[in-house]
Symmetry: C2
Subunit: 462 residues, 2 copies
């Protein structure tokens, strides 16, 4: 049986007018009169549901009339233009066959549910308008990111999830083990990792960057797109224990190139969603964030602002009265500061560059002033930091010195130092938190509502 | 400084002839004569390296002449067609600036290294011809998979990596924990998981399918593409502890639809690589597998064969003499059987369908015979099973009965049963092992050579 997706019908409706089609979907509403009725059905391929008209000349009219919200049907009929009605067209059904009925306790009856309630039913919430919009846009953003980098010749690299290094000490890590927790084999007072699967202590990755750099020194332009983890006991709207990151890395590139590609990428993915999910964005603009569309359209057109960390601190410290954390040179910027800069001062995305070396990672390139490094954060309205990047230290001597200052184990990073020994190049890259990008583009304010199955402290459902 | 990628030059060479360009790259070879020399450089964007000619009228001629393999350079010059030479064109350099020199102990001198040796330097092996080919093709296959599904309206879903369920009991799992292994808090003789990060015992996912099904019942067509894990102590050429899987799932679809999309997808990604990586495939065909190109071209053109498990067992049991494991109805097929079917009997990819229910997972749809399920494996020459799929049991009663027979904890699968209560649909999907696909398309025979940083028992480097 040939089933046509509603997306095909809605996007090429003229081709289908006055022809017979078979569609499938789940009932969103059902209104029956004495001798006819209306079903609206959604098959998940298009945001807007289809109106189906059924009549009492169908032998299962009574069965259809009783169908509840959520039931699955397959409908054959003729698509008719309805220029005078609210919707452009409707399907005059000849056959409505019930694929799977539903039960009266179906939790998603036709009314609005709170996001909090919907989080308790992660297996059903994708059926609601809000999550139809959010998760289709999430998928589109992911594909736009791949398209953006592939069109530019970047090679996609799967950096490892299980790792024996702590990368950059970027955060608390989850341990991965096959040792029996009820009876850990010990050796001289420590767990005997020789008995563990990999013969050493292993964890879930916090960043693929260092691995990514090894590939950039071979393919010039690469990107990663994979899950990363933080075992941080923080229960905020913006943090999850498991989230996805995109980390491009470019050889023969400096901080200027990093900013160029970051701005270009953000505009590309927003443009992609504006073109491919107009119905979803319209819905989110109406029910979630009234300024969403205006903000997205504005970003595509405007150049991102630029300010050095030192200049930003000057701007912010004048306004210290309004901040919980007072700003002075050398401190890390908090979300309140970031949002003030991007929302109040610049009113658009802004790159903040050249941070004090002491608040940034060991691998960032030391500037000539000896105090700051060639780091860049991209701040966007409503979110704060969405991208963090840098030019990397490519000088073997300076890098070794910095790692020694920070008391790092050079032995463990021999592979990373090798990149500076054999054909070192100026290079840089950034990390984009994927969920932050999805929040930004959908207007959703809680990371739990842009992750299909969110993992946060105390929560690991399904 | 505007640096042009070698890919742009090789793919649009006429546009660059007789113009000045600046390129970058790493030295592959350096031959100098008295008053001139040749560098071949590769920038990682294109498989074929570029020949650069330099002369003693350049002030750093001596420095250039001494450059070793692996050094990084930036070269400005004029691109000249050389119709009488081996290569179509060369770059007559005016400036060669040394970006980063290399050391005499650079492990990748200009000679062939064994794959075993290269596995010991995973941070450098991407610079070799073999791994330039393999990892660019890996990236292209990944993108082709996304393109295939997105063009068909499938929604990409990130199913969770950390999970509290054991999915289908598909294999040994890695445990994920923040409990201190040197001092596990105990409660009544068991680890006290209330103290663990998620408040319960958690592991790394072995499959995203069950989660994927929840989204298919909302979006109709979805796919996952993410890492999966097996803590199996098996040291074979085809198994890794961490690998990537693609798991599409379609509502309103039967086993026929599953096979159609699987065949279509495999042909699409092979066609994509044939078009986009001809130089890489040519190289692999010459040095890795002499039948690679013929095999790939053949698959794109041929219809996949189909045989039921019962028919396959009849064919195989006649040849039991040649097998280590003898075949009889009810047994699982081993790689030797799978390869015999696809390589000797059908000489092309083959779908084997309708396996005995007792050797397949609980969620597969029971056929009318009561003995077999609507399962399908796709076998390909040189590999054996590359895809495993099925139509899913969509009948609440039958599914519950089967789960009870298998003594599963129904409570834990309530979300999965809900999908059969509220608008159940015929549906199905499959899993493609991504590395198996990469092995198949590159001709590489060891999974360690298609994973950027392979994780196998006892091995977790970088």
């Amino acid at each position: 049986m040939e089933i046509t997706g509603l997306r095909d019908i809605f996007l090429s409706k003229e081709e289908f007018f006055d022809t017979e089609v078979t569609v499938s979907g789940w009932v969103r509403s059902n209104r029956d009169s004495k001798n006819f009725g209306f079903l609206t059905i959604s098959d998940g391929t298009f945001f807007t549901p289809l109106q189906v008209v059924y009549h009492d000349n169908m032998e299962n009219f009574n069965e259809i009339a009783k169908l509840g919200v959520g039931a699955a049907v397959i409908v054959t009929g003729r698509l008719l233009a309805t220029p005078d009605a609210k919707q452009d067209f409707e399907l005059q059904a000849t056959v409505v066959s019930v694929e799977g009925d539903t039960l009266p306790d179906y939790p998603l009856q036709k009314k609005r549910h709170s996001l909090e309630y919907l989080r308790t039913i992660p297996h059903l919430r994708p059926r609601t308008n809000t999550f139809q919009a959010v998760f289709r846009i999430r998928s589109q953003i992911a594909f736009a990111i791949h398209s953006f980098f592939q069109e530019r010749g970047f090679v996609y690299v799967h950096t490892p999830i299980i790792t024996a290094s702590d990368a950059e000490g970027a955060g608390e890590m989850f341990q991965v083990t096959t040792l029996p927790l009820e009876n850990i084999p010990m050796h001289e007072g420590c767990p005997d990792y020789k008995e563990d699967f990999f013969g050493k202590k292993t964890s879930l990755t916090v960043s693929g960057q260092l691995n990514g750099e090894t590939f950039a020194q071979a393919f010039r332009d690469i990107y990663t797109f994979g899950p990363t983890f933080r075992a941080e006991n923080s229960n905020t709207q913006r943090h999850a224990a498991e989230f996805w990151m995109i980390e491009p890395e470019m050889a023969f590139a400096d901080l200027e190139d990093v900013m160029f590609i970051a701005e270009d990428m953000l505009k590309y993915i927003i443009q992609y969603v504006l073109i491919n999910a107009p119905e979803e964005l319209e819905f989110l603009n109406q029910f979630v964030d009234k300024e969403l569309l205006a903000r997205l359209q504005n970003i595509v057109k405007s150049d991102f602002a630029r300010v050095s960390y030192t200049e930003a601190v000057e701007l912010l410290s004048k306004e210290n009265d309004r901040f919980d954390y007072k700003v002075e040179w050398g401190c890390d910027l908090q979300t309140e500061h970031e949002r003030y800069l991007t929302e109040e001062v610049f009113k658009r995305p802004v790159f903040v560059t050249d941070y004090p070396k002491d608040i940034k990672a060991f691998y960032m390139k030391l500037n000539e002033d000896g105090k700051t490094v060639a780091a860049v954060d991209c701040l966007v309205p409503g979110i704060g930091e969405i991208i963090g990047g840098s030019q990397r230290e490519d000088d073997l001597e300076k890098l070794t010195k910095r790692m020694e200052e920070m008391k790092m184990n050079l032995e463990e990073y021999q592979f990373y130092l090798d990149l500076r020994k054999y054909g070192s190049t100026r290079h840089g890259g950034f990390g984009l938190g994927f969920e932050r990008a999805v929040m930004y583009i959908t207007g959703m304010s809680n990371i739990r509502d842009v992750l299909p199955f969110p993992r946060t402290v105390g929560n690991c459902e399904l």
